[in-house]
Amino acid sequence: MKLQGVQQTKWMGVLVFALAILVFPFIVTQSFYLTQATFAGIYAIIAIGLGLLMGYAGQISLGQAAFYGIGAYTTSVLTATMGWSPWVSLPIALLFPGLLAFIMGYTMSRLSGYYLAMATLALGIIVHTLLVEWRGVTKGASGFFGIPQLNLFGYTINQGIPYYYLVWFFVIIVLILSLNIVHSRVGRALRSIHDSEIASSSMGVNTSKYKMQIFILSAMFAGLAGWLFAHMSYSISPAAFTFDASILFLAMVVLGGSGSVWGALIGTLLIRMVGIVVHMLGEKFPFITSDFEHVIYGLILMLVVIFLPRGLFPTVADWFDALLTKRSSKKSMLKLAAKR
């Protein structure tokens, strides 16, 4: 159903993207790249959620890694310690981050200004400390061992191609959910808040309610990513859920463009590629260590904020649009000329 003049999900784009995901393991067969691509998928889920929060609710979270970590540790404890099936623990791994986001959002009922950024920053630090110090449950800094693998119809989903497909299956779901939200009544309401909060509330839009819902959703996406991460790895440790990780997610969204669901996805892929390039350079030149990554991320953030404040994806998309309309207007002018 095409509604002209209204932003709608472009199913063609989703389809093309899904096909690219499908064929990728056939083209790139080295397991290193496959693992990287799987990780990129896990991060993409977090980045899409954060992108919704930043671009549509106008809020910044500096603590997405906390929700990610809570998701991962929740399922680890439920499955490894308590013996639950990972599929049963999945809803709980979504629920806990969502609940925490609800409590945070509720106490800061209006979610205005930079308070959420500050509060999530603190949350990230608290959660990381908890993961390290609450040894009885999390087994502390050395990490949590023995997380079971996922089973589907008696078939174990191993790291490698099976897990790659599982992760990207979830990414596509998250992508479709997010695109639908953005292109619906609620998405329109959120976009209208961006342009004029006073006008949208006089249209009956409960602005703080929608901001809150998006915050909860972004936390649940991060929880899902944590669940995927935990069951991919045999062990997890608090080192994966630091402030650095939160900043990395932020960089992905800012690079890709926060006003767009696709932007967050593309940003994630680009940042992961930078990571791979740095890693490869590091093998050749010993002075390039993994810390070098952070320097480059910082540089990218700065450059994007200065030169492409809307992010890569919306800017490039507009160039293409301009190019296409120029072409078509040229064509129609030529046609007119020919008629005469």
């Binding site: 003049g5 209204v6 619906s184 009544r185 309401a189 839009v205």
Partner: protein
Amino acid sequence: MLQVDSITKRFGGVVANSEVSFTVEEGQIVGLIGPNGAGKSTMFNMISSVFPPTTGTITFQGTRIEKLPAYQVAPLGISRTFQNLQVFKNMTVIENVMVGQHMQTKTNLFGMASLLLGITRKERKVYDQAMSYLAFFGLQDIFDQKASSLSLGKLRLLEFARAFATEPKLLLLDEIAAGLNHKETQEMSALINKVRDTGVTVLVVEHDMDLVMSICDKLVVLDQGVKIAEGTPKEIQENEAVITAYLGADIDEEEVEEEAI
């Protein structure tokens, strides 16, 4: 329908409105007029719950609304336009109107995410309805243009259409004709009458006297935050206090003229 009862609003030491009372009857077009700084816009903002009055009450169809947040007043059936244009610039014309229809469908975030069949059908309905509102206001030909690309006249119409799309019982128009040329103003008067004929009560704040005098059933005149007159356009035109407020007292003018000579 709307009772404004001894409303006072202070901003620090400045008294913007003082003990103002008036009523708006159902089906009328009521004009709120007065010289610059009379407190019209302040009154308007209180009726549409942008901010609360310092003292006094505002009752709409039996419900006290002066302390409600704006998003709770809208569902009662009050909608407004903004003098300084609060159009959603980054959205298309039809999307603007569809935000106006926000209250007419009730779907939550999680239902929406799955884009169930019922929801797409609802979207279609909202879209078609939006198109009919656009046609009502003569905007149907530019429905897919970005709002930021419109002229002032079209922007005012779009604000009007968006407010009308909330299906209000009472529509507040804040200087809807400001900046419009003579022809556009006349078209606007015709539109306001047309909207009233659909059963919507209209309260206008307006500087354009021709517009106000031609369409309003009743006028409320404010000067320096105080109500100085209330009545039909004809009564207001003959009201001494109003003439004084607008033109200054006769005696002053003569003095000024003499001094000038």
